[in-house]
């Protein structure tokens, strides 16, 4: 939770002092008087007054600003704050000394010490000498100014590829930048990787699956026929055109979009319609929707023109991006809940798209980056003028409720919940009417009690809760169906609200301390064009989206290009992919990043073209061979002197197991386990539901379709470092712990895969040597060497005596899939090896 952080005082004090030292001195003011002001008066004003009365903080309570001589003399709503020589006419003195019973400053605190008051009195009496002649950089605090000079806020410009000595090496412009850097450090790139290693790397990076035996053969054939460059281009183009590409790259965006199918936090209620957004993202990556358009759809799809109902439904689903965040549905305070939803939306939009968080400025101006509270509340107004739909209903675990977003009906659309008989709808409506009548009765009784009269009917808390919950449950059922009981197509998303508002700046982010309303706007540190007009009749989400997706926005293109780079090489050019602020890392290849970003925009924001450019580069093609000298110079391989060795993500590990066992179902399943079985209910209870597999897996579809439940992920995702779905996650962790080993050694999922894998080998091969060779090809995409072959042959021939396959013999007659224990054990061993889940 973002709550008051006291440190902002000290930051403001320092900044205020820093900013205003350059002010001039009026003639006739003695240095002693000025010294008196600087030592006795200014520090007190800074510490106790500026927070609510200064240009810098953007706060002018009672229209009073105290940070210049002029504004101090002029005063605020009540009149001049300081009248030179006359403390009794100076409001500043009156409120400080608590002489005025109605207004005492500083607010809600004890009176300032008598010595301080004496200083102020003396100061005013002696003419209130005040050297602060100008507003300190009006409306532009120093750190905003500093921020404007920061690299990430400059528009990226394209550079010509630098000169390199070995100009035979590069195949793509990006290679020149990488090579120039290496040459400068006296390093040489590694040689090309073996074709099978390269194909394995490409397949996992582009489509998230291992190459099949046929893929390897075809690739080799193409190399023989047309050469490596051409063969690679053919392979890459086929992968980009396959629907598996979207499943792989859509998942990367889902990490960033903190996609999940439950609310998380204490209540953790499932979101039954979240899966539509997942499918939307996958489709966008497959269709190569231009990235700028993709962003606008997700932030303001509901405000875009559409061709037909199908288009409208798609655009509404896109706004699910804003609705999917974690939500404290157990909140007791609707206003607090609303403020937290808006905060989460601001945080996600800014972190995901421009890799910096404006949300830090909820309670105080940003400590490190140039975002002020004004920026924050200007954005908050945009979201406060919108309504978020998430489709959960009131229950004992959910006080908030949450409407679903109704989609237009479209042919072929899947609706996972059941229709109701018309009679049931009638019954529910009757129940609802009764409950509402009861509620009215109860409200009346409560009013009677408050006014001290005896109510006609006794009201208990129990009744109140029963009515609240039952109403919630009936409403929840009714909102899913039409009047005739037909199940309605529903989604999560955002529409403009009934009212277009300016959000008030909340002091310290406290909803109980609203101050000046801030007009809606985009953060002003990044000025692309002249001021953006916020429409009177719309929330402004469309303008925000267009600002983010502007070709001249300095961050948007850099951030996404860097994310793509990160997925292709394991580390971004800016390693901190979600933080391009001053606490983030600087780019290792700044000109390269800028050139890629500029070209990406020119190229129509095409992710596929960018991926292709990188995949066909010489840099990408390098082997991962270790080199002592280079390693000691650059152990993290930030200069890219080789391909980085990488652990595969959870989804790849699982999908690869299904691929080698021959069981993988590449069709997209309809909906998700959450939509189909779990529905809308507390996740804390699903462990008691016997219909759900204990590992929340139990299917053979691609992992991207597994349920993503906050704090309750399917085992394989949880154990192998899936992106934390509460947070924008551009860079997953990689851990290596014994419970992963236990999963691979003992889980029913892996044992089932090993069994099918063994059965497949038995079906496809008739000798152990052939089985071993095939197993190595499937798992590692290479032949076993002699050592490995001998070891494996020995393993298969040397079964533990007595265990000689009781299961096999018992089941031999019953199923063709029965396999010898040693072969099962061997197959599982391969799935457990590090090489299976790592890329070279």
């Amino acid at each position: 939770m973002n709550l008051f952080r006291p440190f902002h005082y000290s930051v403001l004090v320092l900044l205020a002092l820093f900013v205003s030292t350059s002010s001039g001195i009026e003639p006739g003011e003695s240095p002693a008087e000025i010294a008196f002001f600087e030592t006795k008066i200014r520090p007190v004003l800074v510490e106790h007054c500026y927070e609510c009365h200064s240009t810098q903080t953007g706060a002018a309570e009672g229209s009073l600003e105290l940070d210049t001589r002029q504004s101090t003399r002029q005063g605020g709503d009540r009149g001049p704050a300081v009248v030179a020589g006359d403390p009794q006419s100076s409001w500043l003195w009156l409120v400080m000394s608590h002489e005025d019973s109605d207004l005492r400053m500083p607010p809600k605190r004890e009176r300032l010490p008598d010595t301080v008051l004496a200083d102020f009195k003396k100061w005013i009496e002696r003419g209130a000498v005040d050297p602060r002649t100008e507003a300190p950089m009006a409306k532009e605090p120093a750190w905003v100014k500093a921020g404007q000079d920061f690299w990430a806020y400059q528009r990226p410009t394209e550079s010509a590829p630098p000169h390199v000595t070995d100009d035979a090496w590069p195949t793509k412009p990006l290679d020149y930048f990488v090579l120039a850097n290496l040459e400068e450090k006296g390093l040489v790139p590694s040689g090309d990787a073996q074709p099978q290693t390269l194909l394995r790397r490409l397949r996992f990076d582009l489509v998230g699956l291992p190459p099949s035996d046929a893929d390897l053969k075809r690739f080799q054939q193409r190399i023989d026929d047309e050469g490596l460059d051409s063969a690679l281009a053919l392979e890459v183009d086929e992968m980009l055109a396959s629907s598996e590409f979207g499943e792989r790259w859509g998942r990367h965006w889902l990490d960033v979009a903190r996609f999940a199918e439950s609310s998380g936090t204490e209540a953790n209620i499932s979101f039954p319609y979240a899966w539509r957004y997942r499918d939307y993202v996958i489709d966008c990556f497959n269709d190569d929707v231009p990235f700028d358009r993709f962003l606008v759809e997700q932030i303001a799809g509901d405000l875009l023109p559409y061709e037909d109902d199908a288009d409208r439904a798609r655009l509404l689903i896109a706004t699910g991006f804003l609705a999917l965040g974690p939500k404290n549905l157990d909140s007791v305070d609707q206003r607090q809940f609303q403020a937290d939803v808006i905060d989460e939306q601001i945080d996600t939009v800014t972190r995901a798209i421009v890799a910096g968080s404006v949300a830090c400025a909820r309670c105080h101006d940003h400590k490190f980056d140039p975002y002020s509270m004004t920026d924050y509340y200007a954005l908050a107004g945009i979201f406060a003028s919108s309504k978020t739909f998430f489709g959960t209903s009131v229950s004992p675990a959910n006080r908030i409720g949450g409407d679903p977003l109704l989609l237009p009906k479209v042919n072929g659309q899947h609706v996972l919940h059941a229709s109701l008989p018309k009679s049931r709808v009638e019954t529910l409506k009757t129940q609802l009417a009764q409950l509402r009548a009861e509620k009215a009765e109860m409200d009346e009784a409560t009013m009677m009690m408050f006014s001290g009269k005896k109510p006609a009917k006794e009201v208990t808390l129990r009744d109140a809760l029963r009515i609240f919950w039952q109403t919630g449950s009936v409403e929840g059922e009714l909102e899913k169906v039409s009047d005739t009981g037909e199940a309605l197509p529903l989604a999560m998303g955002v529409l403009d609200g009934d009212e277009i508002v300016s959000a008030p700046l909340l002091q310290r982010g406290d909803i109980n301390k609203p101050s000046t309303p801030i007009p809606r706007a985009v953060p002003h540190v990044i000025r692309i064009h002249d001021a953006i007009e916020m429409p009177e009749e719309q929330s402004g989400r469309l303008q925000l989206a267009q600002w983010l997706a502007d070709p001249e926005h300095p961050l948007t293109s850099r951030v996404i290009v860097n994310r793509v780079w990160h997925h292709m090489f394991g580390t971004g050019i800016v390693a901190t992919v979600d933080n391009f602020g001053s606490t983030g890392e600087r780019p290792t290849h700044p000109e390269l990043l800028d050139t890629l970003a500029a070209k990406f925009v020119q190229d129509g924001w095409s992710i596929k073209r960018l991926v292709r450019e990188i995949a066909l580069s010489r840099t990408y093609r390098q082997s991962s061979t270790y080199g002592d000298d280079a390693f000691h110079l650059d152990p993290d391989n930030r200069l890219l002197w080789r391909a980085s060795k990488r652990r595969l993500e959870a989804e790849c590990i699982r999908d690869a197991m299904l691929a080698v066992s021959g069981e993988l179902d590449l069709d997209r399943p309809v909906g998700s386990l959450v939509g189909k079985v779990i529905g809308d209910r507390p996740i804390s209870l699903i462990g008691l539901d016997k219909r759900l597999p204990a590992d929340l897996d139990g299917c053979v579809h691609r992992s991207v379709y597994l349920p993503v439940i906050r704090d309750r992920l399917p085992d394989v995702l949880d154990l192998f470092d899936f992106a934390e779905p509460k947070l924008v996650t551009g860079d997953r962790e990689t851990t290596n712990v014994p419970i992963q080993a236990l999963y691979l050694l003992n889980s029913p999922f892996v044992l089932d895969r090993a069994t099918s894998f063994a059965a497949r080998l038995n079906r496809e091969c008739d000798t152990n040597e052939k089985r071993i060779r095939q197993a190595f090809l499937l798992c590692y995409n290479r032949e076993p060497d002699q050592v490995e072959m001998e070891r494996s042959v020995q393993f298969l021939g040397d079964e533990i005596l007595g265990e000689k396959n009781a299961a096999y013999e018992a089941a031999a007659g019953a199923t063709t899939d029965a396999v010898p224990t040693a072969l099962l054990s061997f197959c599982q061993a391969l799935l457990c090896t590090a090489e299976f889940r790592n890329l070279d």
């Binding site: 939770m1 008051f4 006291p6 440190f7 607010p107 809600k108 605190r109 004890e110 004992p396 675990a397 394991g570 390693a575 933080n579 991962s624 000691h632 152990p635 993290d636 980085s644 060795k645 990488r646 652990r647 507390p682 804390s684 209870l685 462990g687 008691l688 204990a694 590992d695 085992d715 934390e724 509460k726 551009g730 860079d731 962790e733 290596n736 712990v737 014994p738 419970i739 080993a741 236990l742 999963y743 050694l745 889980s747 044992l751 060497d785 002699q786 050592v787 490995e788 001998e790 070891r791 020995q794 393993f795 079964e799 533990i800 061997f826 061993a829 391969l830 090896t833 590090a834 790592n838």
Partner: protein, 481 residues
């Protein structure tokens, strides 16, 4: 963003892994099965003699006062003025006319034990142990915001990815029991830095914490459904349903041989080295962990002591505390428990803080009694700490805000002075004034208790020696027994 370097994690790799690398080079260089067999033999011999694994028990820099740590992590920032840092001045009604935002503690305080420490009425059980406890009332940390403070408490740095306290401890000490993970964390929070709080960063991955967790049914539904816990084991996948242990051992040998073969080709690949370690550890864990996690052999009186039982508020933390004692007994080096109820009391502090105490006070006290009665408190350091404290000022009228400038943590056993109250905050509890102890100082002291010099416990990563305390930290000698 937490980010374990994905390749080439240490330029000092050769120094970190000398035995294994030379072993692999000599053993598996293309002689087929015989080479593997000898490798396997050597590996088996290595496993039999503790001392050749990365996790082997290490000599300390000087004699250790504590052999292990149980860290009771009070996530959210417990209010020191309402628990252990009695502030009479706060209780006084403000002078007439003076506007004050101070919020008196809604709780009564009394003095306990020979040491006369003040404890609030909400901790009646811990109050009985004050003579074993060393309170530090003058803690301070850099940032009053959960995620930063929480991660700084765990790693020393909120800006950079650094190994956690538990990982450093394990790196420095090795493990007492190679069949169990040396660093366990039970129910850690997923936010506030998540796994970074028990991660190993640039230290070898084997030093990171192993997460153990069970799912509890929330109180309301537990009462309704008469079930307070999900079915299923606390740690899944502890037994192979298809293969005998002998076959699994044979399988594991194959996995290790194939991994070693791959490692030999790669020359340096920490991911594979980590995998070899973690599979061996996993195999041994299968043996020991189920027995360890099974509380059914504990006598009824022990369960009662910890407050374990269906529907009891203390049940969840009671189980965790008892588990912690069992793990400590079994030789786990660093055990972290996270309070199942939070301490972030911005609103309704009176009710909510009482709830948090009801859930944890008795189990914590039971842990102290139990350790003491077993003679384990002498060399087990128990730490009770949150990421910061709270303000004496009221927030929203009924709660308190974050306060990083002064707050209380306490430690017991393991070589700290019992019955001591060290350091003070100002009269209202706003700020540490006397003997302030920063997070870095606390880390230095904790390592010192474990026999480790925080300036000498270093790891060379990419050319620079890193330590838990960076360039800071002072051992608070005044609190050492």
């Amino acid at each position: 963003m937490y980010n374990i370097p994905k390749s080439g994690s240490a330029s000092s790799a050769a120094q970190v892994f000398p035995s294994r690398r030379s072993l692999l080079k000599s053993a598996a260089s293309g002689f087929g099965y015989l080479a593997f067999a000898s490798l396997a033999q050597e590996a088996a011999a290595r496993d039999a003699t503790p001392g050749s694994s990365l996790l082997q028990a290490q000599p300390t820099h000087f004699p250790a006062r504590a052999k292990r740590v149980i860290f009771l992590c009070m996530n959210g920032g417990p209010s020191h003025m309402d628990l252990f840092d009695y502030k009479p001045a706060l209780q006084r009604t403000p002078a007439k006319g003076a506007k004050s935002n101070l919020m008196p503690s809604p709780f009564h305080f009394a003095q306990y034990g020979e040491s006369g420490a003040w404890v609030s009425e909400v901790c009646p059980h811990i109050a009985q142990h004050v003579d074993d406890i060393c309170f530090i009332h003058s803690m301070n940390t850099d940032i009053p915001n959960h995620s930063q403070a929480f991660i700084q408490m765990h790693t020393g740095s909120f800006q950079f990815t650094r190994p956690s306290l538990g990982a450093w401890s394990l790196y420095g000490l090795g493990t007492e029991n190679t069949n169990l993970p040396g660093f366990v964390t039970i129910n850690p929070p997923a936010d506030n830095g998540g796994a970074a709080n028990y991660g190993s960063a640039f230290l070898p991955a084997i030093f990171q914490g192993t997460k153990i967790g069970t799912n509890q049914i929330p109180g309301f539904y537990a009462a309704l459904l008469k079930v307070d816990q999900e079915p299923g084991p606390p740690l899944k996948n502890m037994k192979n349903p298809r293969l005998s242990l002998a076959e699994q051992r044979r399988q594991l040998d194959l996995i290790r041989d194939l991994n070693s073969r791959k490692l030999q080709g790669d020359e340096f690949n920490p991911e594979i080295e980590g995998a070899i370690e973690s599979f061996e550890l996993a195999f041994r864990m299968q043996d020991e962990v189920p027995a360890l996690l099974d509380l059914s052999d504990e006598p009824e009186s022990m369960l009662r002591l910890y407050g374990i039982g269906s529907g009891l508020e203390t049940d969840r933390f009671g189980r965790q505390c008892l588990l912690a004692r069992r793990m400590a007994e079994a030789g786990v080096r660093f055990i972290e428990l996270t309070s199942p109820v939070g301490w972030d009391h911005h609103f309704m502090l009176k009710d909510k803080l009482t709830e948090s105490c009801r859930a944890t006070d008795q189990p914590v006290a039971a842990l102290l009694s139990d350790l003491k009665q077993r003679g384990m408190l002498d060399d087990t350091l128990v730490v009770w700490a949150g990421e910061f404290g709270r303000t004496p000022d009221a927030q929203s009228g009924t709660g308190r805000d974050h306060n990083n400038k002064g707050y209380t943590i306490w430690m017991a056993g393991g070589g700290v002075k019992p019955g001591l109250s060290f350091g003070t905050t100002d009269e209202h509890g706003h700020q540490a004034v006397e003997n302030p102890v920063h997070i870095h100082d606390w880390h230095a002291t904790l390592l010192d208790l474990l026999g480790l010099d925080h300036k000498k416990l270093v790891f060379n990563y990419a050319g620079r020696d890193f330590r838990l305390t960076d360039v800071y930290g002072r051992v608070v000698n005044e609190i050492l027994a």
